[in-house]
């Protein structure tokens, strides 16, 4: 048995962006883990730090302005943040790999796709060209690109969005990684293509025994594929739990608000959507206390001052965590909206005078 607890263990990660306008603390002490063959969904809005977390794990953070200022990222018990640049590069591909939202800008437009997939073998395994080509074609077949042999020499612009995403997946799984990080893999795609790509990812995960970190803001996709969820808000983890628990009884007010605000497909209730009022905070001017407090309907004085609430265990099993002073009160909230919400007043956006040019 291996001498580590989790395949990937992120402990108290801190990332900041040093900019002319100030220091933006993009990640403030995020801890989570991923076990073998598990799917963890990181859920959050833009600016919540979910993509930055992925970049920090991969070691592809733009630096400067981004700096990892604290914490550990343990892969099979070894801290990757302490590795040299060269050791780190050797991890990317065989150990951890990543796919991105925008396949068109992630692929190199001036090289044929097959050549780009084969590059993985040429660089990491020093394979000769013809063997690399054979391996690349078999990968293209594995991700179901029709007529793979003929399309080996095609360029990224000659493929549709869904096909380009498949090519990127082929590159990511080329070296049989332990962990695949998918950063919004289907956000730019239509629902029918999204369904194809998610099914493909699931299948490849089972075939290759990969751990999958799925970064998304789509609550529907998460419900369909994830084992556990980590919800991020303003650079912090606010709730983490098995997927069924989160959808059954969300405990952080932000998670509750997110689930409530999604319109339903199965029925038309009428009334208004229960929206979360206000805006995500400016990372350069965070509110004191809990970062969610200006938008939170449960907020009391304790939430508005002092340090943000820590992520605390909610059950004896140690699988559920939430960072909220008022978790005792959220346990009884029923987020499922079954009757029309009356139209009272259009929410004021709570216009923040500090917004000026953030990120």
């Amino acid at each position: 048995m291996a001498d580590y607890d989790h395949l990937l263990d992120v402990r108290d990660l801190h990332v900041e962006f040093r900019m002319r306008t100030g220091i933006a603390k993009a990640i403030n002490g995020v801890s989570f883990y991923l076990d073998e063959k598990e799917t963890l969904a990181i859920l959050g809005e833009s600016g919540s730090g979910k993509s930055v977390t992925a970049q920090a794990i991969m070691g592809i953070l733009d630096s400067p302005p981004g700096f990892v200022t604290g914490g550990e990222v343990l892969f099979q018990g070894v801290d990757m943040l302490k590795m040299s640049r060269k050791q780190r590069a050797a991890m990317r591909g065989p150990k951890i790999s990543m796919i991105f939202q925008d396949a068109l800008s992630a692929l190199n437009p001036v090289f044929p796709v097959g050549w780009q997939i084969a590059e993985m073998f040429r660089i990491h395994h020093k394979t000769n060209s013809s063997d690399a080509m054979k391996a690349a074609i078999s990968l293209m077949e594995q991700v179901r690109i029709p007529a793979a042999r003929q399309r080996f020499k095609a360029y990224p612009h000659q493929f549709s969005g869904g096909m380009r995403q498949r090519i990127m997946i082929a590159m990511a799984i080329a070296l049989d990684p332990w962990i695949l990080i998918a950063d919004e893999p289907t956000t730019a795609l239509d629902v029918t293509v999204q369904a194809q790509i998610m099914a493909l990812l699931k299948e490849l995960q089972d075939e290759h025994d990969m751990g999958l970190i799925l970064i998304t803001h789509d609550l529907g996709v998460v419900a369909n594929v994830a084992d556990r969820i980590a919800v991020m808000y303003a650079g912090r983890l606010v709730e983490t739990a098995p997927v069924v628990d989160v959808y059954g009884q969300p405990r952080h007010p932000y998670t509750i608000g997110l689930l409530e605000s999604v319109p339903r497909l199965d029925t038309k209730l009428g009334g208004v959507l229960p929206a979360i009022g206000g805006l995500p905070p400016n990372l350069l001017a965070m509110p004191s206390g809990c970062p969610f407090n200006p938008r939170c309907r449960f907020a009391v004085d304790q939430c508005r001052q002092g340090t943000p609430p820590p992520l605390e265990s909610l059950d004896a099993k140690g699988t559920r965590f939430a960072a909220c002073w008022r978790v005792a009160d959220t346990a009884v909230v029923d987020w499922r909206v079954d009757e029309p919400v009356p139209d009272e007043r259009v929410d004021d956006m709570g216009v923040d005078d500090e917004i000026g040019g953030w990120l």
Binding site: A195, D218, Y247, V262, P263, L273, A275, V346, M349, V351
Partner: protein, 341 residues
């Protein structure tokens, strides 16, 4: 609840020429909108859904005369929009306005919010007297949930949701009767998306607007729409009340679309039957013959027809199904499938 017909599209076509070679001769056409007809009633919301490339945005641009159609007409209050010129055209444009998808690129970064929202008044000076324009702009900002004091700020000082509110304020500045919303919430985060959807519904009640709501998010469209049109490769393949489309869809494409939407409930995992469509949407430059969906249809091959062509009933390949009332099990609604019902 819906009033009289305010906007009517009759057999709209929009073909874009494909030019190749040094002399740029036309070798074909992209059939972006290929024969679309519908009616919009005063005060109602017609949702238009479909995958990217199905022509829904082009349709929106045709309705506000940002594009001229290859053929067909749009009647506003019985007047053919494309036949108007000069002052009459300008007058008409006041009544049909548009809100664009991307709040980051649809606002001029060098103009203040006041200039952006007030610009319609420069083009239509008769709408509001010059002296009271600033006050009217502030009123509009307040109406969309922004602070009137922010009239001198620039777009970059606002977040995505706030920028979309600025776009909505500009759209309603001239008191239009019809507002075409082209993917107004697609670029926004979930929590902010709900705010903007609520704002649009609130404005509809206040101002009696009719919406053409173009989107690819089927749940949002269900929430906001009274009627829904489903587009595929430039054509409407199914149209009906929101309940008819969502609860009793008859076109196999609509059924596949609906089944592909992931439902945010992990307890339903594995219990929902998902119809997986093979491949991508064919090129609109060379759409399939007969029923355009026959190359991806999941239903046709399973019908067990005797006269088969390319694996589907011959009628699907040879004959284009008309968009006419067909039974849906409960009542009738428009569907363009030979085997609907």
């Amino acid at each position: 609840m819906s009033g009289e017909v305010i906007l009517e599209a009759i057999d709209l076509f929009k073909y874009y020429p494909i030019k190749t070679g040094v002399i740029q001769h036309t070798t074909g056409h992209v059939r972006a909108v290929d024969g679309v007809s519908f009616q919009l009633h005063a005060g109602e919301t017609l949702g238009v859904v479909g995958e990217s490339g199905c022509g829904k945005s082009t349709l929106g641009r045709l309705l506000v005369s940002l594009e001229n159609p290859t053929a067909g007409s749009v009647l506003f209050d019985g007047v053919d929009v494309y036949q108007q010129t000069g002052a009459a055209m300008r007058r008409l444009r006041r009544d049909i306005q548009i809100v664009f998808q991307d709040p980051y690129t649809s606002l001029n970064p060098r103009k203040t919010v006041g200039d952006i929202v007030g610009e319609p008044f420069d083009i239509h000076p008769e709408a509001v007297p010059k002296g009271s324009r600033r006050a009217r702009v502030q009123e509009l900002l307040e109406l969309v949930g922004l602070s009137p004091e922010h009239i001198n700020r620039y777009p970059h000082q606002f977040s995505g949701g706030q920028r979309q509110r600025i776009g909505v304020a500009r759209g309603i500045a001239l008191n239009p009767k019809v507002l075409v919303c082209d993917e107004p919430v697609s670029a926004l985060d979930v929590s902010v998306q709900a705010q903007v959807v609520n704002l649009l519904e609130h404005l509809q009640k206040e101002l009696g607007l009719a919406y053409i709501f173009i989107a690819h998010d089927l749940a949002v469209v269900r929430h906001i729409s009274d009627r829904v049109a489903v587009m595929y490769l430039g054509k409407i393949v199914e149209m009906g009340d929101e309940t008819q489309i969502y609860d009793h869809p008859t076109h196999p494409y609509t059924q596949a679309l609906l089944s592909a939407v992931p439902v945010p409930d992990p307890t339903l995992r594995g219990t929902r039957q998902q119809i997986m469509l093979a491949g991508d949407v064919p090129s609109p430059a060379n759409p399939p013959s007969g029923c355009r969906f026959h190359t991806r249809c999941w239903k046709a091959p399973a019908l067990g027809a005797t006269d088969v062509k390319d694996g589907v009933p011959a009628v699907c390949v040879d004959e284009e199904p008309e968009l006419i009332d067909r039974p849906d099990g409960v009542s009738f609604h428009c569907s363009a499938c030979h085997f609907a019902g």
